[in-house]
């Protein structure tokens, strides 16, 4: 599947390599040696030191993929490759201009379209696009609102940044076909937490959701070493107030 991937590696990131889930446990190889990524296969305590360049090559070859189970689910029935040659010239220009906008807003995909940061980034992207239009001499009156761009980004992200999710005529709309169980569970828990604590911030809802999700998964799977680690890595998650009305749940930060 053709897509572009932002390879953001950090400790705790899960990768699927040849069908096996690996967790990034650290990085090595600074000061002149080959840079490496330390990977631990799930259910094993063995650490594999893989050169960073080799990991990039595996991602390009699609033998490895970055995994986030709580992200939006994968779509099905997508075009395997992007086909720009089918487009008319005007559509081709639209594609190019939209790609420029979306590439700029790549890092802001998680923000709300009404947030100031997103609006500022979108404005900056439009200025860059205007500069490209002036420089190239190829003008186009096509414009997209912040809301549309945000929808585009979310749809793009939902389809795993597959390039075929972007078509010149707006975006090719694909409904969600399959929702992964963890996704459904996570959204349910998030809703539950929001109902219980209507005044806490989104960050704290996120904390609670991760904690409860991990605990549920632990109960379901019996012993899962990796998930336990992921919850412990987050400061505050293991600190629980026994005297609170909800034992086992971290106390929200009251602001």
């Amino acid at each position: 599947m053709a897509r572009i991937v932002a390879v953001d590696l950090f400790v705790g990131r899960v990768l699927r390599i040849d069908g096996v889930r690996h967790r990034v446990t650290g990085f090595g190889g600074r000061r002149g040696t080959t840079p490496t990524v330390h990977l631990m296969p799930e259910g094993s305590a063995r650490v594999i030191r893989m050169p960073r360049a080799e990991l990039y090559a595996l991602i390009v070859e699609e033998k490895a993929a970055l995994v986030d189970d709580t992200e939006d689910p994968e779509c099905v029935e997508r075009m395997a490759e992007v086909n720009l040659s089918r487009l008319s010239d005007a559509r081709l220009v639209d594609w190019y201009h939209k790609m420029i906008l979306l590439r700029h807003l790549f890092a802001h995909a998680a923000l709300s379209p009404r947030s100031k940061r997103f609006q500022a980034a979108a404005q900056e992207a439009r200025e860059i696009l205007q500069w490209v239009r002036e420089g190239s001499g190829i003008t186009s009156r096509k414009d997209w609102s912040d809301k549309t761009l945000n929808d585009d980004l979310r749809r793009w992200r939902r389809s795993g940044y597959a390039l075929s999710a972007i078509q010149a005529k707006g975006l090719q709309y694909r409904p969600w076909r399959t929702r992964k169980p963890r996704y459904v569970l996570a959204s349910e828990i998030a809703r539950q937490v929001r109902n219980e604590y209507p005044r806490i911030s989104v960050r704290n809802v996120h904390r609670h959701t991760r904690f409860r999700l991990a605990r549920l998964l632990q109960q379901a799977a019996g012993e899962s070493v990796a998930i336990e680690q992921s919850t412990k890595e987050r400061p505050g998650n293991e600190v629980c107030d026994e005297n609170s009305s909800h034992p086992g749940v971290p106390q929200p930060i009251r602001t």
Binding site: M1, A2, Y56, V60, A80, E81, R86, Y96, M99, F106
Partner: protein
């Protein structure tokens, strides 16, 4: 936007009028006042108004440093000005002039990829950017694979600055950039400073490493200057290296350059790059099939016949394409990966997905570049057949695999352009052939001619 200040000169022919405005004689405005006023005029704006933006850009340069904040924000591609005399293979008798293409990241100044070519074309421009973007294991030749893990500089750029070279601005190359939404900055003529990082990198690589390479041709004068002939001839006598050997030296030079200190950040360039990845992770294209159809030459509107589609002298067909032909489709678009011509991708308006078509005229046992394939099949870039006056016309052609080995062996060990072949095509092919794994010489028949004659006589006598 600065406003253009055009000084109004006093009417010198009417002193009484000047008196009316309080201006008389040489008291005011003084010459110094006028000089100062004129000197504050924005010369760029003035030139833009008078001669137009393009020419104004050429003559007036802004004094500032372009700042980028993370790796992958801006890349620059260019070929070096210096040239090097190299032998395509170890057996080649006369050296050829080669150019080196480099791609750099603006922020960290690391070199992202390189390319050595005898003749820059759209295919080499695509290869150069592909080398910059993809992990090095996927394209480095076999004898340099050991360095792939040290050179972990990858990823698509937000903006790529190119000069006016026709090969870099070819339609196929621009299609590649458009597909990934890379902003292409085409630098106007005589404005090398707009992509100063790559120019400076070229200069550093030249001064630090390439100057010492035998066969190095310094660009002391413009290339067409007659004085360059003497320099080129002198350098030609010094030529010793093959392309493969030069590539190894260049790669070592690049790694050393990447590991050298960044002039502003005071740490190694590669560390600047790696630290920057935490802020902005590299953006990688995935899917080998998609990569093959994106980093590819685009042929638009090619005619489909019963025999398939003819692209660049190579004939492709498949059952699906034949089916498409029978439904009445007359023209299709073809994407051809210049590094592997065994298959191509056909796009049509009638299809949701591209069709993979196979080369029908020859079966290559391994990935073969366009130049080598053309050489083996004897076709030019325009699709014309070679004018090879074969002496052994009546001989049987060997099976494809044997023929491939034989041709590749000849290519890797040819002492010069073979008879009936064009020199530049042969040289292009020799370079690409040298990147492939060396092959054993084709085995000769164990039965010699005398034995064959004896066998023939024996069979005739019986």
């Amino acid at each position: 936007m600065k406003t253009v200040l055009i000084p109004e000169y006093p009417n010198q022919s009417a002193p009484e009028q000047l008196d009316a405005f309080g201006v008389s004689g040489n008291a005011w405005p003084s010459k110094e006042f006028v000089r100062r006023t004129v000197s504050t005029v924005d010369k760029f704006e003035l030139a833009k108004l008078t001669v137009g933006l393009r020419y104004a850009l050429q003559d007036h340069r802004a004094i500032y440093r372009l700042h980028t904040t993370h790796p992958g924000e801006r890349g620059e591609l260019d070929y070096t000005k210096y040239l090097v005399w190299l032998y395509p293979n170890t057996a080649w008798k006369e050296p050829l002039l080669y150019q080196t293409g480099l791609g750099v990241d603006h922020m960290s100044e690391v070199i992202k990829g390189y390319l050595v070519t005898f003749r820059p074309t759209a295919a080499t421009a695509i290869r150069l950017y592909k080398h910059c973007v993809l992990p090095k294991r996927l394209w480095l030749p076999e004898h340099l694979q050991g360095y792939a893990n040290e050179w972990d500089v990858v990823g698509l750029d937000r903006l790529v600055a190119l000069d006016n070279a026709k090969d870099l601005q070819a339609r196929s190359a621009l299609m590649m950039f458009i597909a990934y939404g890379v902003i292409v900055l085409c630098v106007p003529p005589r404005r090398g400073d707009l992509k100063g990082t790559i120019e400076r990198t070229n200069q550093s690589i030249e001064r630090m490493f390439i100057e010492q390479v035998p066969g190095y041709v310094p660009m002391a004068y413009p290339f067409t200057d007659p004085r360059m002939d003497r320099i080129k001839k002198a350098a030609k006598k010094q030529a010793k290296l093959t392309v493969a050997e030069y590539e190894k030296l260049l790669l070592l030079a690049i790694l050393e350059y990447n590991n050298a200190k960044h002039p502003r950040f005071r740490k190694r360039r590669i560390d600047v790059y790696r630290d920057g990845l935490e802020v902005a992770p590299p953006v990688l294209p995935t899917g080998l099939r998609h990569i093959r159809s994106t980093f590819a030459l685009t042929f638009k509107g090619h005619k489909v016949t019963r025999e398939g589609v003819l692209v660049d002298g190579l004939k492709y067909n498949s059952a699906e394409l034949n089916e498409l032909y029978r439904t009445g489709v007359k023209h299709v678009d073809v994407k051809l990966d210049p590094d592997d011509v065994r298959t191509a991708h056909v796009y049509s308006r009638e299809l949701f997905e591209p069709i993979e078509v196979t080369l029908t005229t020859f079966k290559f046992p391994e990935a073969t570049s366009l130049e080598v394939a053309r050489n083996i099949l004897g076709v030019g870039p325009d699709g014309s057949d070679k004018e090879d006056d074969d002496e052994d016309e009546g001989d049987e052609t060997p099976p494809p695999n044997e023929r491939f080995v034989q041709e590749l062996y000849e290519l890797q060990n040819a002492p010069g352009p073979r008879r009936g072949r064009k020199r530049h095509l042969e040289a292009d092919a020799a370079v690409q052939g040298a990147r492939m794994a060396p092959v054993e010489p084709p085995k000769k028949s164990t039965i010699d001619d005398a034995e064959l004659v004896a066998m023939f006589r024996g069979s005739g006598g019986a």
